[in-house]
């Protein structure tokens, strides 16, 4: 299995990234802030505006190290990708399936199945771990409801109907996101999803987690030779990595939501790590983002046994493994795409 390499986050707005030999050199007003060998890195995420040298971008594109630029607020700006690599035949197969409604639905339903399954087991896990702090009966009822929806999703052949079922599942699950917050309830609550801009602390964290996950997913897909921009369920739109969003569906709850919940429940972040702008937008402070990213990176190092492969891997490699499995399915080596089902 591939080794999980590190991600370099640049958390200051005025750092310029340049290349020297096989090293990335971080410059702040002509002063050297750091120098790291690039072979230890898998991606570079920069929160700031100053930029990177073309030489560095070329070097990274050639070696499949992704560079992602974000605004200081964590909104995605751009991702540097090099020449398309991998297999033309695989890409053509992907395009052909994406053009065909029924075939697309057949792949997409497995993403959604994974998503609903993981949401269901997040609820079940809560009833097991905190039976005295939550309303177990309601949790169990929704869990049953989700099981019912899964039967429908399993058989679904139309994209429109699939979106409908997914919406129903999302509504039932979202109702419980707030009850899964057990600590610091006066500062952290979830009423509804808000984005661009996020309007409360929880949404600010969810947005950042989803953005990071989407970037990892897109890099993983490109890494196995798929086109991250041609999806099966999300419609094509310029600049949107639709396939990354598709595959990400099954990981949202288990990978991002659960991470955000643990940050709140373990009191890693508190209300002081957020600032509110005049327009109501809530953003993480530089210090808060640092805590967030540190926790995100160490979560990625945690070891798990992949439920389908049965192999011991780090959490951070899950997007890569799912991309690999999807490529195998498209190639015809697998009869069906196996979603990441985590109990």
């Amino acid at each position: 299995m591939k080794k999980l390499l590190n991600t370099l986050f640049i958390n200051q707005p005025d750092v310029y990234l340049s290349l020297d030999g096989d090293n990335i050199v971080l410059l702040k007003e002509q002063e050297k802030l750091g120098r790291l060998p690039l072979h230890n890195l898998e991606s570079i995420v920069s929160f700031g505006y100053t930029g990177a040298s073309p030489a560095l971008m070329g070097y990274c594109a050639e070696r499949n190290i992704s560079i992602v630029f974000m605004t200081i607020n964590g909104r995605f700006l751009a991702r540097v990708i090099g020449a398309s690599r991998g297999n033309v035949v695989l890409r053509k197969k992907q395009y052909a399936i994406s053009e065909d409604e029924a075939l697309s639905a057949r792949v997409a339903r497995n993403f959604i199945l994974g998503k609903v399954y993981n949401h269901k087991w997040m609820l079940e896990r809560m009833t097991r771990d905190y039976p005295l702090r939550i309303d177990v009966a309601q949790f169990k009822e929704t869990s049953l409801h989700l099981s019912g929806l899964m039967l429908g999703i399993r058989e679904c052949e139309e994209l429109e109907r699939l979106r409908g079922l997914e919406g129903q599942a999302a509504v039932s699950y979202n109702k419980f996101l707030d009850s899964m917050i057990l600590q610091q309830k006066e500062d952290f609550f979830f009423h509804t999803r808000s984005r661009r801009p996020p309007l409360d602390n929880v949404n600010a964290m969810l947005s950042l987690a989803y953005t990071l996950l989407a970037n990892d997913m897109a890099s993983a897909l490109e890494g196995v030779g798929l086109d991250a921009y041609v999806g099966f369920m999300h419609r094509d739109r310029p600049g949107r990595a639709s396939l990354a969003l598709d595959v990400m569906e099954e990981l949202r709850g288990i990978y991002a939501d659960r991470f955000v919940l643990s940050l709140i429940n373990k009191k890693v972040l508190n209300s002081g790590d957020f600032i509110r702008k005049e327009n109501g937008a809530v953003l993480l402070t530089e210090e808060g983002r640092k805590k967030f990213l540190t926790a995100w990176q160490s979560r990625k190092q945690d070891k798990i046994t992949h439920p389908y492969l049965g192999e011991n891997i780090s959490w951070g490699l899950v997007p890569h493994v799912q991309a690999l499995l999807l490529a195998r399915y498209l190639r015809g080596d697998l009869d069906e795409y196996p979603p990441f089902l985590w109990k």
Partner: protein, 96 residues
């Protein structure tokens, strides 16, 4: 795994100075400089083979020396630092 590389290059003539620069450059491409002629490199087996070969080709065995210390994957509890210029932990969270 981590490998610590230290070197001594004789710099009385200009070819010695050239060798010194080249050795430093190759080491820098693979790892981080922790003291003047000491580098810590986190490499896999293939990278290590390539790096070692490059360095051995560069030096003049009559005048210079190289020393390699293999610290393996569990190097973190084998390294202790006292004083200024601590190194970055390249496998921990990298947030600058």
């Amino acid at each position: 795994m981590m490998v610590v590389i230290t070197y001594d290059v004789r710099t009385v003539d200009s070819s010695g100075q050239r060798r010194l620069r080249q050795v430093a450059k190759v080491c820098q491409n693979y790892g981080q400089r922790v003291q003047n002629s000491v580098f810590e490199c986190i490499v896999d087996a293939a990278e290590w083979a390539a790096l070692k070969l490059r360095l051995i080709e560069l030096i003049d065995p009559e005048q210079d020396s190289l020393r390699f210390y293999q610290l393996g994957n569990q190097y973190k509890n084998k390294v202790e630092h006292v004083g200024i210029k601590t190194s970055l932990d390249l496998e921990g969270p990298l947030i600058l």
